[in-house]
C-alpha cells in the first residue's frame, strides 16, 4: 500500500474519532453540555490525537529505521570475496541499492515481470542487459553476489513495508479505541488535550534545536578530523591557499588568511557602500517622504531584496565589472587588470544589501514614538536637528543591529563573490585585484569528485566552522551593543 494511502487512512480514522468522541461525550452527559467537564470538541480532539499521534510517531520512526536496518542486514551478507580491490563494502552496497532501484523501476514500467525480478536463478548478465535496455543507471556489470543482495534488499523492504502498514493501522485503531473508552462525562479532556498540544509544540521546538545542534556537531567532528590530517597552526596562520586537486601527496597549502582577508575586505566595501545609502534612504522614507512616495518606493526597495543573488552575480560579471575596467583599467587609470575584483563584488553586494539595511532601519525609525519628535519640535528644533539628535539616537540600537545583520549576510554571501570577485586567493590591499572568500572556496573544494577523507575536502568543514564562529561572534556583539545602549537609555 503506498505511503500516501496509509497517511490518508490514519487521518480519516482520526477525523472519525473526533466526531465519535464528541458525540459520545455529549451522549454521556445526556446532551447537556454544562454537565461535561470540558467543551465537547475537546473530547473529540482527545480521541483524534490519541489515534493520530502514536500512529504517526510509529510511522516516522519506522520510515527512518527500516532503511538502516535493511542496509545493515544486507551488507552483512555480502561475501568478503565480492569486494573488489580498491573498493569498499560501502561502495558495493551503493551498487546493490542502485540495482535494487533499477529492478524496482523496471518492474514498474512493465519491462520486467515481478517474478523475473525475484527469480534467484536469474542470470546476472542477462539482468544487466535488460536493465541497461530499460535505461536504468547501473555503473558496472551486475555480478551474482550483487544481484542476490539486491533481490534480498527488495524482499526485505517489501516485507518491512507490509508489516509497517499493519503496525501503523493497529496503533491508530488502538489509540482510537482507547480514546473512545475514556471519553466520559467526568474525563478531563481539556487538560489532556492541552498537555498533548504542549508536548507537540515542544517537539517542534526541539526539532529546530536538535537540527542546529546536529549541524554544529557535524561541523565540529569534521573539523576535528581535518585538524588530524592538517596542522591547525598552518591552517589559521598560513598565508597561502593552494590546494592540490589530485588528492594525492601532501603538496596542498591550506592557509585561511587569504580567504579570511578576502571575506572581510569585500564585506567592508559592501558595507561602506550600503550602510550610508540604506540609512539615508530609510531616513528619507520615514521622515521626509509623503505617504504617496513612500507607498511606491518602499515596495520597490523590497523587490530589490527579493532578487536572487545569482542575478546580482550576473550583474557584477556582465555590467559592473566591465564598467569599472573602463574607468580603472588599461584605458583609464590602469590599476585594474580584469573585471573580477574586490571592488566589483563589493559594490554589487552593497547594492544587494541596501534594501536590507533601509527596510530594517525604516521600521526601526518609524517605531520611535511621535511624542519624542513633538518634544523636540516644541523646543524650536528643526526637522534635521530632531532627526540627528533625537530620532537617530533613539533608533541607534536597532540600526546597529540592522548593520550587523547586513554584515552577517555579506560574510555569508557566495554567488556574487564567485561571479564578481574571481577565484584567486590573495592577500592584497588593492581593491581592484581579484580575491576570493571563504564561502566561495567551500563551494570549489566540494564540487566535483570529492574524496571526503582527504584534507582538501575536509578543509571545507574547517572553513565552515570559522565562518560560523565569525557570524556567531558578530551576532553576540550586536546583542551586547544593543543591550548596553538599552541599559543606558531606557
Amino acid at each position: 500500500m503506498p505511503l500516501l494511502w496509509l497517511i490518508v487512512i490514519v487521518t480519516a480514522l482520526a477525523a472519525a474519532g473526533f466526531f465519535a468522541g464528541r458525540a459520545r461525550a455529549l451522549q454521556s452527559a445526556g446532551g447537556n453540555i454544562r454537565d461535561l467537564h470540558s467543551l465537547p470538541s475537546y473530547y473529540g480532539w482527545n480521541v483524534a490525537l490519541k489515534a493520530l499521534v502514536p500512529a504517526g510517531g510509529l510511522l516516522l520512526v519506522w520510515l527512518l529505521a527500516q532503511p538502516l536496518y535493511v542496509n545493515a542486514t544486507v551488507s552483512a551478507t555480502l561475501p568478503e570475496a565480492a569486494i573488489a580491490e580498491g573498493s569498499s563494502r560501502d561502495l558495493l552496497m551503493a551498487e546493490v541499492r542502485r540495482t535494487a532501484a533499477g529492478l524496482d523501476s523496471a518492474v514498474a514500467q512493465g519491462l520486467l515481470s515481478a517474478d523475473e525480478a525475484r527469480d534467484p536463478q536469474a542470470d546476472p548478465d542477462a539482468v544487466s542487459e535488460r536493465l541497461k535496455e530499460a535505461g536504468q543507471i547501473i555503473t558496472s556489470q551486475i555480478t551474482r553476489p550483487i544481484l542476490d543482495a539486491a533481490q534480498m534488499f527488495r524482499a526485505m523492504n517489501a516485507t518491512g513495508a507490509l508489516i509497517m502498514d499493519f503496525a501503523v493501522l493497529a496503533a491508530a485503531l488502538a489509540g482510537l479505541g482507547f480514546g473512545l473508552r475514556e471519553t466520559q462525562r467526568e474525563f478531563r479532556a481539556r487538560n489532556t488535550v492541552e498537555q498533548g498540544v504542549r508536548a507537540l509544540l515542544l517537539a517542534a521546538a526541539s526539532i529546530a534545536i536538535l537540527t542546529t545542534l546536529g549541524i554544529v556537531l557535524s561541523l565540529v567532528f569534521n573539523t576535528w578530523e581535518f585538524f588530524r590530517l592538517y596542522p591547525a597552526t598552518d591552517f589559521f596562520f598560513g598565508t597561502t591557499w593552494a590546494p592540490s586537486f589530485s588528492g594525492r601527496g601532501g603538496a596542498s597549502e591550506l592557509g585561511i588568511l587569504p580567504l579570511l582577508w578576502g571575506t572581510i575586505y569585500i564585506s567592508i566595501v559592501a558595507l561602506t557602500f550600503s550602510v550610508p545609502v540604506g540609512l539615508f534612504s530609510a531616513i528619507y522614507l520615514s521622515e521626509y517622504a509623503t505617504p504617496r512616495v513612500r507607498s511606491v518606493v518602499k515596495p520597490l526597495l523590497e523587490v530589490l531584496a527579493g532578487i536572487p543573488t545569482i542575478v546580482y552575480g550576473l550583474f557584477a560579471l556582465l555590467t559592473v565589472g566591465p564598467l569599472l575596467v573602463g574607468v580603472f583599467g588599461k584605458d583609464g587609470l590602469n590599476i585594474m587588470q580584469s573585471g573580477t575584483a574586490v571592488m566589483t563584488a563589493g559594490l554589487v553586494m552593497g547594492i544587494m544589501l541596501i534594501p536590507f539595511v533601509s527596510s530594517l532601519s525604516d521600521d526601526i525609525i518609524n517605531a520611535v514614538p511621535q511624542s519624542l519628535r513633538d518634544g523636540s519640535y516644541g523646543l524650536g528644533a528643526t526637522q534635521s536637528e530632531t532627526i540627528r539628535q533625537v530620532v537617530l539616537p533613539a533608533a541607534l540600537p536597532g540600526i546597529v543591529g540592522a548593520i550587523l545583520l547586513a554584515a552577517s549576510r555579506a560574510i555569508g554571501e557566495t554567488m556574487i563573490v564567485v561571479l564578481g570577485a574571481g577565484a584567486a586567493a590573495r592577500l592584497s590591499l588593492n581593491p581592484f585585484e581579484a580575491m576570493t572568500t571563504i564561502t566561495a572556496k567551500i563551494v570549489s573544494q566540494l564540487t566535483g569528485d570529492a574524496d571526503f577523507a582527504s584534507p582538501e575536502a575536509l578543509v571545507a568543514f574547517a572553513l565552515g566552522m570559522t565562518l560560523f564562529v565569525l557570524t556567531l561572534g558578530l551576532n553576540v556583539f550586536a546583542l551586547y551593543i544593543v543591550r548596553k545602549y538599552r541599559e543606558q537609555y531606557e
Binding site: 505617504p291 514614538p369 511621535q370 511624542s371 519624542l372 519628535r373 513633538d374 518634544g375 523636540s376 519640535y377 516644541g378 523646543l379 524650536g380 528644533a381 528643526t382 536637528e385 539628535q389 533625537v390 539616537p393 533613539a394 543606558q488 537609555y489 531606557e490
Partner: protein, 265 residues
C-alpha cells in the same frame, strides 16, 4: 459677554500677547475646534478647562503650530502673536516654537542624559557660549523645575530612567531652559504628587512675572489657584472666557456652572 468683565477689572488687564480670532480646526472630517476667539494676555496665567475630548489640547497646539506635524489637521482663522499672524507664510514655525514653548500631556524625555535633555534647547539656539554658561543654564532650569535636588548627583543618568512625575518636571525644566515668551502646558501636573504639584504651581506663579503661561488642567482647584483668566471649552466651542474668580463664583453660562460643580464630566 466678557467685554463687561474686562471693563470691570481694567486695572489687571495686561497687554495682549496672543490674539486668536475665528479659529477652526478640522481633523479630517472631525470638526474639533469651532470658531474660537481668545486673548492670551502677557504676564498672565490662562487656564483652559473642559471635559475630556473637548479640544483643549488641540487649541493649545494651534498656538505654536504643533498641529503642523499632523498631516490630517487643518487650522483656519487667525492667531496673532505680538500682532503678527503666526500662520502667515513668512513665519518660520521653528522660530515661533522657540518663542512659544510647550510641555506635553505625557512626559516625553529624550533618550539622553538628564543634562543633555535640558541642554538640548539652549544648544540648538546657541544660548551658551561655553560649558560653564551651559552648566549654569541647566542648573537654573532644573531648580525652577523643582527637580534639582533629586537629580543633581546623577546628571549623566538617562532621563528616561526617572519616575513619571520626575520625567514630567524634567520636561517642564527642559521647556523653560530655552526661555520662551509664552509657555503652553498641557496637564503638566497629571502625573505629579501633591508636593511636586505645589512646586510646579509655585513655578508657574513665578514665571508669570516675565512670561505668559497657558495651562490645560482637569483640576478646578488648580485652575482657581494658579490662573487669572479661565477659558471653558465644551465640544469644541469656547463657552465662556473671563476672570478666573468670576468663572468660578459667578459663571454666566449654565454649562460652565454644571461643569465646575461637577455635573458635566
Amino acid at each position: 459677554m466678557y467685554d463687561a468683565l474686562h471693563r470691570q477689572k481694567e486695572v489687571d488687564v495686561n497687554e495682549i500677547k496672543i490674539a486668536a480670532r475665528g479659529v477652526q480646526v478640522h481633523y479630517g472630517d472631525n470638526h474639533a475646534i469651532k470658531d474660537v476667539d481668545v486673548d492670551i494676555e502677557d504676564k498672565t496665567v490662562t487656564a483652559f478647562i473642559g471635559p475630556s475630548g473637548c479640544g483643549k489640547s488641540t487649541f493649545l497646539r494651534c498656538l505654536n503650530r504643533m498641529n503642523d506635524t499632523i498631516p490630517i489637521c487643518r487650522v483656519e482663522g487667525s492667531i496673532l502673536l505680538d500682532g503678527e499672524d503666526i500662520y502667515d507664510k513668512r513665519v518660520d514655525p521653528v522660530q515661533l516654537r522657540a518663542k512659544v514653548g510647550m510641555v506635553f500631556q505625557k512626559p516625553n524625555p529624550f533618550p539622553k542624559s538628564i543634562y543633555d535633555n535640558i541642554a538640548y534647547g539652549p544648544r540648538i539656539h546657541g544660548m551658551a557660549r561655553n560649558k560653564a554658561e551651559l552648566d549654569e543654564i541647566v542648573e537654573r532650569a532644573l531648580r525652577r523645575g523643582a527637580i534639582w535636588e533629586e537629580v543633581k548627583d546623577r546628571l549623566n543618568a538617562p532621563g528616561t530612567g526617572l519616575s513619571g512625575g520626575q520625567q514630567q518636571r524634567l520636561c517642564i525644566a527642559r521647556a523653560i531652559a530655552t526661555e520662551p515668551e509664552v509657555l503652553l502646558m498641557d496637564e503638566p501636573c497629571s502625573a505629579l504628587d501633591p508636593i511636586a504639584t505645589a512646586q510646579v504651581e509655585e513655578l508657574i506663579d513665578e514665571l508669570r512675572e516675565n512670561y505668559s503661561v497657558v495651562i490645560v488642567t482637569h483640576s478646578m482647584q488648580q485652575a482657581a489657584r494658579v490662573s487669572q483668566r479661565t477659558a471653558f471649552f465644551h465640544l469644541g466651542n469656547l463657552v465662556e472666557f473671563g476672570d478666573t474668580s468670576t468663572i468660578f463664583t459667578n459663571p454666566e453660562d449654565p454649562r460652565t456652572e454644571s461643569y465646575i460643580t461637577g455635573r458635566i464630566g
